[in-house]
């Protein structure tokens, strides 16, 4: 897709292609399910979640399958986005200015590209946690199928799985907060794929400059 094609009519800019959106939601929906069932297994106080999600055995059965889809989606995100997620000098500056970002003083932030440093962190955080969840999950899924399974591996897996999941929950809460509440328009962007130019300019000025520079005036 050429950069020009990203400039849409009505002052909109294409932020996510259909493929990206489908991938995101594949991950998103499965993550929600994994979160619900996972939390059920995490604490007796939340065990009702497993019941609510179709029954305890069903939850246990589907959790790993959902996990596979989630793993696949995140892996595909990696394939799609990894080159855009490299850490830059701007990102370093962004982290230093984090307090402005968190207090909504976005004008004091160094210009962000398509993804700001926080998003990159989210990406890499999910990527690595996903790997850990996958590996530990495989151990825990059906240990009896694997001749090489060992109790030690399973015990470590239990810990790793829980710890990695906790980490993603932290990421996920911020991601959800940012996407749903903090940045108006972000949620729409993963639904429709586009954002307003204002949004782009405000949150991802460097990225907007990049596409707008090529096509000086948006098509009307």
């Amino acid at each position: 897709m050429s950069r020009q094609e990203q400039i849409l009519p009505h002052g909109q800019v294409l932020r996510y292609t259909l493929r990206e959106r489908i991938t995101h939601w594949a991950a998103g929906v499965t993550y929600l399910y994994l979160l619900g069932t996972g939390l059920a297994f995490w604490s007796p106080w939340l065990f009702w979640l497993a019941v609510a999600l179709g029954g305890t055995q069903v939850s246990r059965t589907l959790h790993p399958w959902a996990g596979l889809i989630f793993f696949g989606s995140v892996w595909y995100m990696y394939v799609m986005w990894a080159p855009q997620m490299t850490h830059t000098d701007d990102d370093r500056r962004w982290w230093k200015a984090l307090k402005y970002y968190s207090t909504n003083q976005d004008d004091k932030m160094p210009p962000a590209g398509r993804y700001n440093a926080g998003q990159k962190f989210l990406f890499w955080g999910f990527f690595w946690a996903n790997l850990l969840l996958f590996l530990s999950g495989i151990f825990l899924w059906a240990p009896q199928y694997f001749a090489w399974h060992s109790l030690v591996a399973m015990r470590i897996s239990v810990l790793v799985h829980a710890a990695a999941a906790l980490f993603t929950i932290g990421l996920f809460m911020i991601h959800l907060y940012m996407g749903l509440f903090a940045e108006r328009g972000a949620f729409g962007s993963v639904i429709r794929g586009d954002v307003s130019i204002a949004f782009a300019k405000r949150y991802h000025p460097a990225w907007y400059k990049e596409i707008a520079g090529e096509a000086a005036s948006p098509r009307k």
Binding site: W48, T56, L180, F181, G185, G188
Partner: protein, 194 residues
């Protein structure tokens, strides 16, 4: 579409909690579901283990209460705690006697393998008994020895052998002695020797 509002955020957090009620699941698992004692009302027969010579007392549990309309089927075999020697204990063979009684490899019908035959053929009991009796008579009449070389009466039959098994009861053994000695059989043998 519109982005969610603050109200939505609050709403979301309560949905989960209500979900259980919404979906109508019974959240209470059943605790302590005990299997009931499988031999509680089974019929008990006192018997003796057929394996080694300790002769452990065993109890064979069969379904039904001896009512007419029940075909007994063994559901369990266990040691007889009253038995002075084994006091309820059993060895791995005695403990698996249920599998000996209910064994799919059991022979269920008389069979015969004819001279030169390459497989078993079915035969009725009446035919089998009658054929065997004729074989016995023929062999006996052909080879019976009334007097030996020194002229002593011996009345013996050296051409038929009988070997009795280890779980033959005394009473059956007595019938063997009675019938076989009457035929003149001297090749009379039992697991007792080997």
């Amino acid at each position: 579409m519109t982005s969610p509002t603050r109200r939505d955020f609050l709403k979301l957090t309560t949905v989960g909690g209500a979900a259980a009620a919404l979906f109508g699941f019974d959240l209470k698992p059943a605790y302590a579901q005990l299997r009931t004692l499988k031999i509680a009302r089974a019929n008990e027969t006192r018997s003796t283990c057929p394996y080694c010579s300790v002769s452990c007392g065993i109890i064979i549990y069969t379904i039904g209460d001896r009512a007419k309309n029940v075909t007994p089927q063994v559901v369990h075999v266990e040691g007889d705690p009253d038995h002075p020697i084994n006091r309820g204990t059993l060895c791995p063979k005695g403990a698996s006697l249920e599998q000996d009684i209910l064994n799919e490899r059991r022979l269920l019908k008389p069979q015969v393998r004819r001279p030169g035959g390459t497989d078993w053929e079915d035969i009725s009991w009446d035919e089998a008994i009658s054929e065997i009796a004729q074989q016995v008579k023929k062999t006996r009449d052909d080879t019976f020895i009334e007097k030996d070389a020194t002229g002593h009466t011996v009345n013996r039959l050296e051409s038929i052998a009988f070997s009795g098994g280890c779980t033959d009861t005394n009473e059956f053994n007595y019938l063997i002695v009675k019938t076989m000695r009457a035929l003149g059989v001297v090749h009379l043998e039992n697991q007792a020797r080997v």
